[in-house]
Symmetry: C2
Subunit: 176 residues, 2 copies
């Protein structure tokens, strides 16, 4: 039985820290209320993230990660990156459509879109036809304007100050 | 034994969604790495938040909430609001100083500061004297400039679009 009367489309974008963390924090809150959460990570598969070690201990949470564990930078992108992002999207379409999950998080989908690994028309169709009670959360920098237009709630994480700029390197447990 | 070589001071501020969620997501990641996390909520005590129901099931996480469960709006603030925010700060000082926790999250402390419920000089002293390995995360809108100046990492959550603006009301499991 759906628990939300009306699910929204949320977008977290921008160059600042906290987009994926905000989505995981939201998942935690939702689980606290007995909601079912499905997280699909686009292009992050294979990375070693701290949250993965807790995710499988949490009730009502399923997490699937796609990608080859490397940031996609080639232009045009590699065939395997396109394939795995599309696999992620197919799973997303299926899980959203099923209506079985109250919250579906599409982590880094904005990046997959901006790199044109996936077709924005497929994503727009998924948003347009989503069951009413399903909350959709899309994260990643460079969210396309088309997506921002149809979203109900959009937050930009804006970097004001970051030690990376001073040659700082990522730390286990904090940055990953 | 401290797990972080160098703990930073992080600030999440701005009028957008996701500040507390980002802090909780970060806590989740840290726990996934076996780090010990202490969360102190300023002015949020008594509120019924979804994350509270999961928090006590998580290993390595302690959460204490202060306040009377109402947003503080009176000017000058009520005595009891001043007292509970100061109680929260005293606990924060103690837990930071102990060096026992790898990550200490001071949720909504920025709001307590901007409402002048607590003295910024005490907070600055706590930041200046924190053990090197402790990561401090301060959240809440209206972070004072003095705080932003000493922080290592500052992210502004900027509201781009929000259904509240159209008379939308908060939903259990998503907004709280």
């Amino acid at each position: 039985m759906p628990k939300l009367e009306k699910g929204l489309i949320q977008v977290y974008t921008g160059n600042g820290k906290g987009k994926t963390s905000a989505a995981f924090g939201l998942a935690l809150r939702a689980m606290g209320r007995g909601l079912k959460v499905y997280i699909i990570q686009f292009i992050k598969g294979g990375f070693d993230y701290g949250e993965l070690y807790v995710a499988d201990k949490l009730p009502n949470l399923t997490l699937k990660a796609f990608g080859r564990g490397k940031f996609v930078t080639e232009k045009p992108p590699r065939r395997e990156d396109v394939d795995s992002a599309n696999e992620a999207l197919t799973l997303a379409e299926e899980k959203v459509k099923s209506g079985e999950y109250d919250v579906v998080i599409l982590d880094e989908i904005n990046v997959a879109l901006s790199l044109k690994l996936i077709d924005i028309r497929r994503v727009m169709e998924m948003l347009k036809t989503k069951p009413n009670h399903v909350e959709l959360v899309l994260t990643g920098r460079s969210a396309p304007d088309t997506l921002v237009r149809v979203a109900d709630l959009v937050t930009e994480m804006k970097e004001i100050k970051h030690p990376y700029n001073e040659g700082f390197s990522a730390r286990k447990g904090i940055e990953y």
